[in-house]
Subunit: 252 residues, 3 copies
């Protein structure tokens, strides 16, 4: 199985599918091609949220603002999974999650891609097919993969949690407008049903969107386990006036 993730929209991912299907009989599964454009951190967040639900697979993931520069291309072995993409940190949080800690990084030798602007098609898809055909355990024996000395790191900022308050930031906003922070959902333990304060304004803490009336704001814990600022049948980002990277103060 090979999963595909990118910020390519349409129809560029189809060229990657064609390359993959020309080289392997693997089942292809689209994860998303609508990641926020060139937002490496958002993509890293979503990959870490979603890929661990998959059975062992090769995961091709391309969000690559440095395409055509000298950033490396990497294949990462992480537990029973392999990850293929640019060496810009996008694969690191999910690699750590899948491997339960340390993981192995290999550089992809990609000389002379056909295009300097579409490495998804010309570098990463062929490499993902090669990893799949060789197997997650054995691909590193192939000539085009060489052990890497290091990898570009990416860590999400950590929230500061004290007794009664938390200072964090918005990591991503999902398609619904749900505003996902880096504040761990545990700060709301024992607070559900009551009110908390977000950036100085009060809002109800509830377990589910439907616990407030349509159009009303709430503070909840999303499926990712973090504090999420939302509106039932509406957009939390608009209602709270927040976007990715903004600081958030929460008092409970």
């Amino acid at each position: 199985m090979i999963t595909l993730s990118s910020d390519f929209g349409s129809p560029y991912p189809a060229a990657m599918k064609g390359v993959l299907l020309s080289a392997t009989d693997a089942q292809l599964v689209d994860v998303s091609h609508d990641f926020p454009r060139q937002d490496v951190r958002a993509a890293a967040f979503w990959l870490r949220e979603v890929l661990p639900y998959f059975p062992p697979a090769v995961h091709l993931a391309v969000v690559d603002p440095g395409v055509g520069t000298d950033r490396a291309a990497v294949a990462i072995r992480a537990g029973d999974h392999a990850l293929v993409g640019p060496d810009n940190g996008v694969l690191v949080p999910v690699a750590r999650e899948l491997a339960d800690g340390s993981f192995e990084v290999f550089r992809i030798d990609a000389d002379d891609p056909e295009s300097s602007t579409f490495h998804g098609r010309d570098v990463f898809a062929p490499a993902a097919a090669a990893v799949h055909e060789a197997g997650v355990d054995a691909f590193h024996e192939r000539e085009r993969f060489a052990p890497a000395d290091d990898v570009v790191e990416l860590t999400f900022p950590e929230a500061t949690v004290t007794d009664g308050s938390a200072t964090g930031e918005v990591l991503v906003v999902d398609d619904f407008g749900n505003t996902i922070t880096n504040v761990p959902g545990t700060v709301l333990d024992g607070r559900f049903g009551g009110e908390v304060t977000v950036d100085g304004e009060s809002a109800p803490a509830r377990r589910t969107y439907a616990a407030v009336d349509p159009g009303q704001r709430l503070v909840t814990v999303g499926s990712h386990g973090n504090v999420e600022l939302a509106v039932n049948h509406g957009r939390g980002d608009d209602a709270f006036g927040l976007e990715p990277g903004d600081a958030v103060e929460l008092s409970v």
Copy 2:
């Protein structure tokens, strides 16, 4: 085969795919993840339009404004098909269509989902995989499924058709802006090529969009068999000033 339908956009459906593929080798087919947000009636309409074209399959469909409340989760046997989703009516019109009348409803026992906001991943996908593995004929013998006494109904409003006029409403607007009413297309029998009146204004009745000039309005019968208000190479909803739920008066 398992089909997937939701209003989740991207990338949440991928988590459902991961859960499904971890539990079954079934072929997965995306129907849509862009149903109008939390619009149960629109989703029910589209499911009824599209799913009957599929061979026997398990259909996972999640449009679920009541997620996390005490609304039940159900699996429905309808002819050779099974439907899995929330008990909010979204599955009922297509179940009636697939079963050619009566169908059987089972409650899904879903204690302690991992998340109270993402039952698509934590409740419905595991249930759909279980239905698929047990088989459409036999899944009800599994412990997690129990016969349901009732089901939340959903019926589309019926248009009032008299000789020479029809009073109905807009059911859904598609991605093209085509405005689909509940008025049966048969009211246009014998009227194609002539003019009809929509909310007091005249418009040509035509069998195909291309029968009027680009940018011109028309009244036609869509692939669903209902009267549709459209614009060739344009948006019917804008041109007719209508949105879902609005009343429509048609004189022929």
Copy 3:
């Protein structure tokens, strides 16, 4: 393998999938359902860019502003591939590319489609399944296919290239806003790193988006081999004030 391409958005493509899966066990691969609406030339461009990366397959492609008129439905044999869609030129550039020149065209006998507005479901999907089941080499022996005397042609306009300048036009704008012209990328040979002039204004010629600062314009060669007007981390169409069909003057 059957690939699917259209401008249908969502959820209409699912009805085509249902029809296909009812008639064949072929693997289905979505190319795109977000081609610019009813823009035959743009679809023809993208099909030519993407489908040649696929292994031999049946390609169903429906962008069909003339649906319901007397335009023909065709199946084309092009090398090891077959193409199925409307006879409006959309399949011709990719057919020429796949066949490396000449290709064979067959008319699809499609009497009485269920709907006059959804031939993707009622005419083209059944025909694509029939082509797949009979095989690319043999489908023309089936009764519903008859040799066609001619085909509606579609050729892209050619740029005028002289020593030091090129006059062309914008063919398509991709989802990123990258503005793809018909000017061959070879006009930039030896110019990378320097400045060129677009419609009288200077812009840097660079091999990669990341070679200019975020928000800055550049002139590059896209993965399709043509000159592309872009903005690093931004939209080239907005920055250059261009849309499909606009003329472009390039001085190098």
